[in-house]
Symmetry: C2
Subunit: 274 residues, 2 copies
């Protein structure tokens, strides 16, 4: 049985849905998206994701033909029709057909739902390895569909024995391709980047629980040299909540994750979802 | 009557052809292309374009399912079926369906033909205005589908009263979004960028005719401060051959294009097409 999606202004089977070959998304890579996790029939933090989606669209001058309520209703209908136990929803705005192949005239909405593994109840105990790479994403506060560098770097990343990439530029850490980055200083202060990265919804939720539970944090530039001084590090995303980092390049963290700051925050994030 | 294109491994009407919503080109902006001009039934410099197309694909780790001969035959068939007086051919390799939304597994070919205005017999006498913008295209020697910045900058460019954008980075000129850039020094030496830009086929042909006709040229970094010292400037592309530049930002060239180096080269380029 095929999964349903929304494309060409209708709900239809995903294997029948295509983006016109003349679309700006296909010809010029011009589009934005957002991605959220769905627990059963509950789209998590959908208002935060829609806020960011509309911000991305506005900055990229892509007029969304639907209202927020329209989009919520389409998401609801897809969830009901597809009946997936656990899933992710991807909302895309494609640049649309441009008679001159260059000018934005007819942006349009695509919504795709796909099965997703449910994150574990507690923070995973095994950390991953990150490989640092000097790169700055273009228009970084917008969730564009541009993952050219991230996809291109996959073989390089595997050669490094790494599980993900950590971008930095001019010595300042920004983010991973699909996750925000946090470190915990020796003084037990949580630190995350302040600029040149995407404003993740999980990052936002973490800062919220830090405020609510008086966990000390700083939002500021992170120099790449600080990594070696850090006590622990982790990455965050809507898909996985938090993944601990065990190693960055050659530097191995000595953290005991069972007693980590990340573990504490993870439990608070789980509570936020209910 | 609909125009025919090649997509989903077959020749079909363009309005029926779509890229799957799950394709890496749609979800991650991962694709390359090339574009060539067709005079009647003659695809111009197709071997040069195929050389670059296969180079782009190889560097981006996109295996093209067809051979060069296959592609030439499809192009020939499209030209015969569509019977356009003057046209352009766009060949795209899309990243393809990725079960994990990230890993390249099934790249596929799309070929689109569309009507195109025939360039004038002689160099246009009116020059355009360029607005400089600090930006470096990612993986610049590859013709990727990433035109995010170029499309995004269109309203800004129009505000400047400009017709096109000239990218520079760290003080060095690279290219326009869809054209190479040349200037002519006071000593009548043609200069074009040596790095961080796309190797245009028209650029290549210009360097070829310069060699053949002993027109002095240099391939080297162009400092943005050199613009004010230049005698003339022009941009080049497969679509237009050469367009003279009358103004860059506030600086207006005093060139008389009728007697320009560009005019001479333009005539030689026209001859190359026969």
């Amino acid at each position: 049985m095929s999964i349903f999606c929304f494309a060409n202004n209708q709900i239809q089977a995903i294997d029948k849905a295509g983006v016109p070959v003349t679309d700006l998304l296909v010809q010029r890579g011009y589009g934005i998206f957002d991605f959220l996790r769905v627990a059963g029939d509950k789209p998590l933090f959908i208002d935060d994701h829609l806020d960011r989606f509309f911000h991305s669209a506005e900055k990229m001058r892509l007029t969304i033909p639907q209202t927020r309520e329209d989009i919520k209703n389409i998401v609801k209908e897809l969830i009901q029709k597809n009946q997936l136990t656990y899933s992710g929803i991807r909302m895309i705005i494609a640049g649309g057909d441009a008679p001159d192949g260059y000018t934005i005239e007819h942006p349009h909405l695509i919504i795709i739902q796909a099965p997703l593994a449910e994150p574990t109840i507690h923070l995973p105990e095994t950390g991953i390895k990150l490989a640092t790479y000097s790169y700055q994403r273009q228009i970084p506060d917008v969730k564009t569909t541009d993952y050219l560098m991230a996809v291109w770097l996959q073989p390089w990343m595997k050669q490094q024995g790494a599980d993900d990439i950590l971008y930095y530029y001019n010595g300042i850490i920004s983010e991973c391709p699909r996750s925000n980055f946090f470190l915990v200083t020796k003084e037990n202060v949580l630190v995350t980047a302040q600029q040149n990265m995407l404003n993740g919804i999980t990052r936002k939720n973490i800062l919220k629980v830090c405020e609510a539970h008086s966990i000390p944090f700083q939002i500021r530039d992170i120099n790449i040299n600080e990594l070696k001084e850090a006590k622990e590090a982790f990455i965050t995303s809507s898909t996985k909540r938090i993944i601990p980092v065990q190693q960055i390049d050659e530097f191995v963290f000595k953290s005991d994750y069972v007693s980590s700051v990340a573990k504490n925050i993870y439990e608070l994030l789980v509570q936020l979802e209910h």
